[in-house]
Symmetry: C2
Subunit: 337 residues, 2 copies
Amino acid sequence: MAATYKDIQKETGLSLSTISKYFNGGKMRDKNRKAIEKAIQKLDFRVNEFARGLKSRRSHTIGVLIPELISTFHTAIIADMEEYLRANGYGIIICDCHLDRDRERDALTFLLDKMVDGIITVPYDKRGEHLALARQREVPVVLIDRLASEFKTDAVITDNESAGELAVGELAAAGHRRLAILSGPDGIYTMNRRMEGFVQALQRHALPVDSELLMTTEMTAEGGYNGLRRLMERPDPPTGLFCANYEITLGAVIALNEMGIHIPDQLSLIGMDNLMLSQLVHPKLTLVMQPMQLIAQSAAQLMLDRLQGSVQAASSRTVEFPLTLVRGDSVQPPALV
Amino acid sequence: MAATYKDIQKETGLSLSTISKYFNGGKMRDKNRKAIEKAIQKLDFRVNEFARGLKSRRSHTIGVLIPELISTFHTAIIADMEEYLRANGYGIIICDCHLDRDRERDALTFLLDKMVDGIITVPYDKRGEHLALARQREVPVVLIDRLASEFKTDAVITDNESAGELAVGELAAAGHRRLAILSGPDGIYTMNRRMEGFVQALQRHALPVDSELLMTTEMTAEGGYNGLRRLMERPDPPTGLFCANYEITLGAVIALNEMGIHIPDQLSLIGMDNLMLSQLVHPKLTLVMQPMQLIAQSAAQLMLDRLQGSVQAASSRTVEFPLTLVRGDSVQPPALV
DNA sequence: CTGTTAGCGCCTTCAT
DNA sequence: ATGAAGGCGCTAACAG
């Protein structure tokens, strides 16, 4: 049986309120402080967080809700957030909705029922209306990676349009004119933005926009694999390709290997995220990278600001980070046909 | 302000104990049940888990403590465990100790202070003495992947020795005699076992054991990269290699690409885990695979058994799963020198 | 089957 | 600076 204030009381003869004050930073006689500390040692006393939470209504726990845990991008961000939040006394409860809107809603309810103090989420449902439930319970929400059309709140995103721009710019500079994109399904915030940026960049560079080369597929390695085959089996395949997320890039590379299509001689390729991939694949890939650590820390900080009440309740802040192009050897001028 | 039993009481006129019974599965008049349900709807009532925990001493939360979140192996297992546990009403609080014993100890304390009902961990500290603290607080512990020398408890592991055996068997069958292993640091449970299994298998196959070819390195891509270079820059390099974990495999493949050493003509390679890798790399890698989903589910189930009290407190069960060899194209007979 | 009551461990006025 | 007392929301005897 765990020790309580009463046990400390028995040890020290002090009253419960003095003991409480010790744990909540009040002033007290040095002698008493030391007596309490001695009793804590002796009893291996730990404050009971249930009791504390019952009064304070705080669990010092943040719910993290994401579409899929098996995603380098999400995992990397979660790892950084976990470290940052724990350093501030907060633990994270993770829920993975497995790319399913109903599960996402259930998971949110689950987290709220677990009395989390806040929710940090990569919303799967584009509209994000499920998040209204959190607001109704007065639990702050911070979005990562994607905005929700029907739910305004603090968010950390990257300049997704520029991903398309960076890729097109690099490929166009190498002399490519027939460019394709393999993006995720319509309805995914980041994928739509990257697609839009890509199309706008084509226009800006006065390159042809062939809707057959603006392909969407699942955001999985399998999706990238299938998408690439469809793209390259066309009578008139592209000479330059941008893969709009990590898993799609992975699948595309697998398919290219299988089809015996050589990078960059036969196809110039630009992928996204995960530097490790770029080094593993031969030749090294040129990538558009997101600053994962910055994203993680700033999401965590936005949440801490909310929880510490240092921010206007009504305001909503959006932090947007730029993307960077990391050059490998997967882009070269197109073959002369 | 969230609704409480008292609010339901006002709505229904029923007593607190009747309402409590509703939530804890007692019998009651159908009329009363319906009245309560109606009130719950109207008030958007949720049971306060702080108050409930204060009485029951249960948070329905499991602490998950791992060496590193950025590890496909750990992430995959966590994703499966999360799903399985949540389906049973349990959430998981994740802590990553970043390959640091002190942080591991701190994280354990953190989790216990968060009132978790149990700890599922891949212990980083080989001895696992820090886990005694959990036992002292009567919090059950389930180990994954590694046993701890100084802490006996329920555990789920794989037959690590057989990894070495499978690899040596496959390479020997192809005619290789000069075999090397790239394993993790001495002191890591799995790495030691795989190394031992490898050496025993060499002896069983009557192959020479050259201690220079039994190499240990960090369990990271960088470790694999460096280890491979050291190995292949020797005057008399091996013709067959087993990489004893995923990250090491990754790093080794990167280094081979850079050095222009071709698989399998110049080196036959067997890696571990992560089927995706095997498909990405050209040629496809032959791999020793661990059944991640089984590991995850059985760890979760061991924990649930403990929490539901359906297991003797004193007993300790170890579940060991077999490994499988998945053939790719990275092994062929050695070149005639 | 339902109601009354006394805590679970901690925090917070309010006195002293 | 310290002590006494009530209550946070729920549960579990115990009566009725």
